[in-house]
């Protein structure tokens, strides 16, 4: 079964720095998502992406966040100026007709 790949698995960054989390969704999937899981809390929706634009976003997804699908393969989440409270596990997911919703293994972001 195809997989969603996320890199890096763990990222440590200083507060105020920019980070880019990378994801390679399953090819032929049309819908792409980012979710966040703060330690000890539930998985929260951040943003969905369809047809090369944001289709829906949560209140968490403020101006500090952006997403891109620069080359038709990668799907990135950028946090412009990280805050301590951005520390979390970030999951990428993609959705298609055959395999449905598939999650990546996540990137653990630690802001120090």
């Amino acid at each position: 079964e195809p997989e969603v790949t996320q890199t890096p698995s763990h990222q440590v960054t200083q507060m105020g720095q920019e980070v880019i989390l990378r994801c390679v969704p399953i090819s032929n999937h049309l819908y792409f998502y980012w979710y966040r899981q703060i330690l000890g809390q539930k998985v929260e929706f951040l943003v969905s992406f369809y047809n090369n634009e944001i289709s829906e976003k949560s209140e968490i997804f403020d101006d500090q966040f952006s997403v891109e699908r620069p080359d038709g393969s990668n799907f990135t989440l950028k946090i412009r100026s990280t805050k301590l409270e951005d520390s979390a596990m970030y999951f990428c997911a993609s959705k298609g007709r055959i395999y449905g919703y598939t999650f990546g293994s996540g990137t653990r972001l630690t802001v120090v």
Partner: protein, 112 residues
């Protein structure tokens, strides 16, 4: 508001005992319900979806529209079932673009 509730944060059973993880939802329209499992901080893995009505690893879940519940059950728990379990829902149609709403999660521990 769309909401998924898992009332039990922790659930402990002994090996061979029956287990039931509760999930209630509050959703407009006709939601699609899922159970995801997460082993030791690994990726979220789809366990069940209500529309397929299948049994995976001995687990089953029945959608009860009257009680708005989608409880996960297994008649004989195994130690390898110990994990975090998430109930999730999405609107099958509409304009949600497939966004998943997760419950808080239930940590299941199966003792030998």
């Amino acid at each position: 508001a769309q909401r998924v509730t898992q009332p039990e944060k922790l659930l402990s059973v002994f090996k061979g005992a029956p287990v039931e993880l509760k999930c209630n939802y509050s959703y407009s329209g006709s939601p699609e319900l899922f159970w995801y499992v997460q082993y030791s901080r690994q990726r979220l893995q789809l366990l069940l979806r209500h529309i397929s009505r299948e049994s995976i690893k001995g687990f089953t879940a029945d959608l009860n529209k009257g009680e708005t519940s989608f409880h996960l059950k297994k008649p004989f728990a195994q130690e390898e079932d110990s994990a975090m379990y998430y109930c999730a829902a999405t609107n099958a149609g509409g304009t949600s673009y497939g966004k998943l709403t997760f419950g808080q999660g239930t940590i299941l521990t199966v003792h030998p």
